[in-house]
Structures are given as C-alpha cells and as structure tokens.
Symmetry: C2
Subunit: 151 residues, 2 copies
Amino acid sequence: MSPGLFDTLLLVTHLLRQDLARTFDGTPLTEARVAVLWVLQTVGPSTQQQVAAALEVTPRNVSALVDALEASGHVRRTPHPTDRRAVRLELTPAAGELMARMQVEHAEVEAALRDSVAPGDREAFERGLDAVAERLQELVAAAYPDAEAGS
Amino acid sequence: MSPGLFDTLLLVTHLLRQDLARTFDGTPLTEARVAVLWVLQTVGPSTQQQVAAALEVTPRNVSALVDALEASGHVRRTPHPTDRRAVRLELTPAAGELMARMQVEHAEVEAALRDSVAPGDREAFERGLDAVAERLQELVAAAYPDAEAGS
DNA sequence: TATTGTTATACTCTATAACTATA
DNA sequence: TATAGTTATAGAGTATAACAATA
C-alpha cells in the first residue's frame, strides 16, 4: 500500500528500459535500434515496411534507424528477391550472435525475476499481473478510442 | 507462462507511459514536461537545479523544458528570494488545478488497477511485484556499478 | 573558487509531406 | 493507382562545453 502500485510499476518500467538499452560488447546501441534488431532476430529477414508495422512507427523512421545500423555494421540491406521496390533487411553475422546472446541474457533475467517471487505467491502474482495489464489496456483504449489495439 | 513475464511487464510499461502522457484539457503536454509539472506539484516551488536533480537530467535540459512550459503558460519563472543566481519555478494557477485533477485521476487509475486483481490474489500480487522491483534494481545496479541508485 | 542558469552545438527519435521507382 | 523507400523539413528530448552573473 505505502509505496503505491503506480510507483512500483513505474520503477519497474524504468529499470526494465534501462536493462533493455544495455550496451553489449561495447557497442552503444540505443533502445530504438535494439528494437529493430530484435524484430530481425525473432521474425527473420524483413522489409522496412514489416519492421515499421512491428514497431508501430513510420517507415521513414525505420529508414533512419537502418541507416545507423548499417553504418555500425549491424544490419545489411540486400535486394528483395521478388519485389524490386523493397529492401530485405538482415542481421550481419556479428549482430546475429549479439542478439542470440541478448536472448539468452533476457531469459536469465526473466528467470531471476520469477525466482524473486516467493513460490507460494507466484501463481497469484502472475494472475494479478495479467489482470492489471488487461485492465490497463481497457483504460487506454477508452482514453484513446481512435488508436489501434496492437501492443 | 506463455506470454512471458517480460512481455507483460513491457506491455504494462507501454500502457502506463501512454496513460501518463495523456492530454489534459486539450493541452498536449509531453511526458517530459508533465514530469516537470509533477515535481513542482509534489514538492512545491523549486529551482531548476532541484528539478534537474529530481528528474536525473541535466540542468540544460530543464532550461529547455521550462522555456516550453513558460511559453504554454504552465510555469512561471520568478526571482529566487535569497539567491539572485537562481530562479524560482512555480506552477501557474491553471497548471496547479490541472495537476490536482491529474493526481485525482491517477488515484482512480491506481484504484481500478487494484480492483482488477482478484481479492484473494491481491496480497500475493503486491508482495510479488515488490520482490520483482527489488530484484530488478539489484540487477541494474550490478550492470551499472557506476550509476547512482535513485529511481 | 563554486554554483545557477544560459548560449552554442550536436545527436537521437519521431512525424508529415512530397517524390522516385516499381507493382 | 497503390506500394516501398527516399529526400526534405520539423519538433522534441537529451547531452557536453563554454560562459555570465552571483555566492
């Protein structure tokens, strides 16, 4: 009661984002750029349109992010095999390894967070968290009737 | 288990931030500017240095935010009573009312989120959330040994 | 000498609008 | 005509460095 549900959630927010923007291998990757790499790692080679849709961001924005990621050697633009308007984005081998390690590390963090909850509280905790997420989604949808529902 | 604790937390993060950046009274306030107003509302009139420290942001950044908030009529710069180098920031009456309503609305959101958790799960949920926040703080502190501990 | 806030400069993320090349 | 990506332009947040006025 005392620290406030809101405050705790915001603290978690803050810490999670800090963790997500982590620097790997001395390469200072920003959160937005890691988000692009994450899409490519999880769904495989994609067009910029697909990345833009996945991140809910304008295609123009993806162009800029990919420019930077290409310059830093994380992403390659190759010709799309069937559509000559489109670009095929793929991770470089080094970036692929980086993301693989990042996936492992995130799994470890997730496990550590689960372990931090007392065993007897875990099920109730997860049910509660899901309920809060769902309710928040409803509240946001009510506040922004025009916006789409995708996360 | 299936959606992933991480993903759910990130969804909540996303939704909370969306809610926090809400537009009030047709005034499009950004998250960063609301953060400044929030400090002034909760700790009262402050210097820019104090706001910068509270937000963990450079004083230069606060100058820019206050410039914008002054132009939009939310904040006033008045002479500091004892230190002529410093500026005393205070909310305008309209912004004060705005922030008061915002506090009420946040309390309502907090109550709605609490209500969304099944009564039998509430205590375990809150214990679990606190534990996760604490563990996350440890993990971040370990990853960034140099950074300060403030939220 | 140290502190408060500013000007100067730069980088990043994001958006809209207009344009080119291709479907 | 519609779509993929680009150039052009703009606003917002953030940072460092140098500087003025004041302590």
